[in-house]
Amino acid sequence: MSLLRKIRGTGRVAEPAPPRPKDEPPAAARELGGSAQVRCIDAGSCNGCEIEIGNAFGPVYDAERYGARLVASPRHADVALVTGPVTRNMAEPLRRTVAAMPEPRLVIAVGDCARDCGEFAGAYGVQGAVGDIVDVDLEVRGCPPRPEDIVAALRTVTGR
């Protein structure tokens, strides 16, 4: 019963929703109609971006209230959140994962590494940025990116 008391004492943790982002949504996002199933793909990240994605779906930022939900399979997904510079071993799995997603699909490159290899540019194991391997629809800046920015990118997709 201490959990019940804790629930009552804590109340609502989610912050009030910020205004809707004004970015023009990608063409594929318009067909989704307020619902986006998200699959995370770690293509060689240091896990900093994963922590921030975890926060974006946590109680404080609560990305789920805008219609985004994490799923377990690329077949169920509309959006791929790709993090990290793409390493040689992850280039082919990344291509296959995106190919397994049914159309219409979107790819969001999360973090500076995913956008332009960031800290790891030129490293021997790195094949390139996410944009060199698959088509990228949206990018989220930052190392690590702020959860607000990840949520804003997801809201651009769901339009809510």
Partner: protein, 322 residues
């Protein structure tokens, strides 16, 4: 009577199809609020289904007929159950066929179809999910049957309509030891059958802990929409059955008017929503059981059901089937 009966069937089936995604959305909303989140709203599962229906259908390479027919068969078998069992009215033209054994068989048909589809994909997780689902299902189906049998002894019939209308007239049957034991046994069986938390986690992303999700990993687009709708309908039907069996008041009976049909529909919605909220709230307090402990839980619920049948037989108030 006949027009009213057919209207009752249509109302039951329609309410289950329309209400199932709303029930799931409502349960997610209750859970989100308890976790301090805002939640996506009750209509979110409908938005998900609408989007999935618009998406590109994909049939994974190497899959056969079992994979292709499973979504439609799952929804169809659940829809037949929704039309058969007395959710809104006990006096429909087909309520004479609402036999407990048939209903459990139809639910098992849906389970087996999905397990075969999971095997058909040929992936490691699909096969693992199917094997787990069959293990759980083999323990759950007898429990549901026995729990219903415990209630059928005082009614003298395995017909669900007869059981429910009998219990509505004689509420003492439900407060008897047999009725209470059967309630507890059926509640555990419903949790296992619908893949809720102590047995399976509906929102898991860890492949090694999945049961239901592991079987449907390969579905995409409209097929996935049917699989999700089917799973949501099963939850609604089983919660509705539990509500009808143990809180049988408000259900329309023979000789009732259109007004009482509408009232019965509203009462059903309230009962199922209340049960759903209770389940969602309980899930916040529970952790998922380790897979090897699940058979112990289910064996416990089977034992409760067996005790319920025994109690019903020995402590029966007369008028038994023997």
């Amino acid at each position: 009577m006949s027009a009213l009966g057919y209207a009752a069937i249509a109302a039951q089936a329609g309410a289950v199809v329309v209400g199932a995604p709303l029930l799931t959305g409502w349960m997610r909303q209750v859970r989100a609020r308890l976790e301090g989140r805002a939640g996506a709203g009750t209509a979110q599962p409908w938005r998900d289904l609408r989007k999935l229906l618009r998406k590109e259908p994909i049939t994974a390479a190497g899959t056969g007929p079992a994979f292709r027919v499973a979504p439609a068969l799952l929804v169809a078998s659940t829809l037949v159950v929704a039309a058969l069992i007395p959710l809104v009215s006990t006096a429909t033209p087909i309520s004479g066929h609402a036999d407990a054994i048939l209903v459990v068989g139809l639910l098992a048909l849906g389970t087996v179809t999905l397990a075969l589809a999971g095997l058909d994909t040929g992936t490691a997780f699909g096969g693992m999910g199917s094997s787990r689902e069959m293990t759980i299902s083999a323990l759950v189906e007898p429990t549901i049957l026995l729990a219903v049998f415990a209630l059928s002894i005082p009614a003298g019939s395995t017909n669900l309509a007869a059981i429910i209308s009998g219990a509505a007239e004689d509420p003492a049957r439900l407060a008897s030891p047999a009725g209470l034991l059967a309630t507890a046994a059926l509640a555990v069986a419903v949790l296992a059958e619908t893949g809720r938390i102590p047995v399976d986690n509906p929102s898991t992303h860890l492949e090694l802990t999945m049961v239901h999700e592991a079987m449907v990993l390969e579905y995409a687009g409209p097929d996935l929409a049917l699989v999700e709708l089917g799973a949501q309908m099963r939850l609604t039907v089983l919660l509705g059955l539990q509500a009808s069996l143990f809180v049988p008041w408000g259900i329309a009976t023979a000789g009732d008017s259109w007004g009482s049909l509408l009232l019965a529909l509203a009462v059903l919605a309230v009962k199922v929503a209340a049960l759903g909220a209770l389940l969602a709230a309980a899930e916040v307090f529970w952790a998922k059981l380790r897979l090897f402990r699940v058979p112990e839980l289910l064996a416990g619920s089977f034992l409760l059901a067996l005790l319920a049948v025994t109690a019903s037989y020995f402590l029966g108030t007369g008028g038994g089937i023997l």
